[in-house]
Symmetry: C5
Subunit: 130 residues, 5 copies
């Protein structure tokens, strides 16, 4: 288990590392599982009765869980799971975050971003969405 | 102790590393504890009589203290603790820094940012705060 | 093989790391090969009958495949291969992504970006394209 | 000495690494000492007669010199020491660089930035400087 | 030699790593030497008859060649050497790239940037060039 790698005198928290597209994110299992219990992330990182990974997630050499997605657009989603607010910097394209929210199944973030993108686009605009 | 990892001929400073969401920040205990003595950071890193960690903070494999928060928005807060000025780049959403300031209990930064965000929002604006 | 370095209890995925200009990207062979089957990336990372690399790609010390190109402009292309949308942040020059799309032979991205850049440039503009 | 870690067939240069707030900067002693001879950086990294560090600077495990400051705002200052021009990107807050210039005692940079910030602020503006 | 560190079944390419101011760039000798044959980079990395480094370039512990310059502004120059186009993002100050182009002796990039900066500045503007 990757968690054995950490010296955690504080037993309440259960630390893990995600390798999202090559960038490492340190977080806790409760952040990933606790807030959006129906999301893919919650299902990926919830434990079964034996306490082992049900999903057989792939790990890199350092014990981080591999996820083949964009780290840049994952970041605001992880922050949302930490404190419940979706916060985007002005230099981040909200469509990128929307793709990740759909992939990870974080429905409240999908709803916020679809509304926001809809507002920004004039009706009848058929240009490529890039 | 993580500090044993450093060769510190200069005994006055007490270096430590924070792993905030996967990014490492090098700083000193006096920066974290000295300026905002009532903040969560000060409480986390102040020593008890025996000089050991009272809070049993979790550490990663390298001995860095794990904090499950956003590194991007933590950075201006750490700079504030270093020199007392809150400085944000134009591409940083102040709401992100506000969330961290609240979490870490840095009240002067909370006050500055709440005032600033209030000014930028027209009254009666009910749009999602993202 | 670099893939031997990963503990992959989930046998369906075939993880690899690209070292693009010095930055590491974690992804899967199916992402690189599956969507744009005629691209250079697909040809570089498709396996022959023996399951070994046909192209004798160079690897760095960690087993990542070396590609002598820009990591910054490669990132949106890799995301496109992951989910089929081309998403650029406002602080990214689309010409940089176009150069990489041409190099890697991702024709749909080339088409989208050429159209977009053409629209932004007034006809008769002869200024340097930087 | 940290410099013993480098294979330097070229004896003229004296390479060292700074760990500024957790980010590593490779540079030479002559860059830090040569241009602004009265700065704190020059004093920190000038050698005494025996050729050893007079200041007993703290080092991290890799032998990099620890400095408890912002890496983002230190970067343009290090570039200034390299070639004598102060160059800021549009997404960098000049106040952040000013704080570092004052801390490191790089007076020409302090002067340029104080003038520049003064110009940008309308007289009588009493809003928080963030 | 640093190149011995790479497993390169493909003998045509000659991979090396540059440590520019602390950031690592992976590239090939042919990129550095082939396009701008009179540049300092070409002279630094061309081999003599014995195939060894003529310039006795300094290397860091990992075998990367040390260059005491800005990584941020070096990046578009390396991309230029890769494909012949100078591409700048909107958040990059062209003056920073110009300084590096002059240092490395990449004359076409110097010419493009001097023209571009000249156009942007109104004549008679005597303000600091930062």
């Amino acid at each position: 288990s990757a968690n054995g790698a950490f010296m955690s005198p504080n037993k309440q928290t259960d630390w893990l590392v995600l390798n999202v597209g090559g960038k490492l994110f340190s977080t806790t299992r409760s952040t990933l599982v606790g807030k959006e219990t129906d999301s893919m992330l919650a299902r990926m990182f919830s434990c079964n009765r034996e306490g082992s990974d049900r999903w057989n997630n792939s790990m890199d050499e350092s014990g981080a869980f591999l996820i083949d997605r964009s780290p840049r657009y994952f970041e605001p989603i992880l922050n949302y799971l930490r404190h419940g607010e979706l916060i985007l910097d002005p230099d981040v394209n909200p469509r990128g975050v929307l793709e990740e929210a759909r992939f990870f199944g974080i429905q409240p973030v999908v709803d916020i971003l679809e509304l926001r993108i809809q507002k920004e686009e004039p009706p009848g605009d058929l240009s490529p969405l890039t």
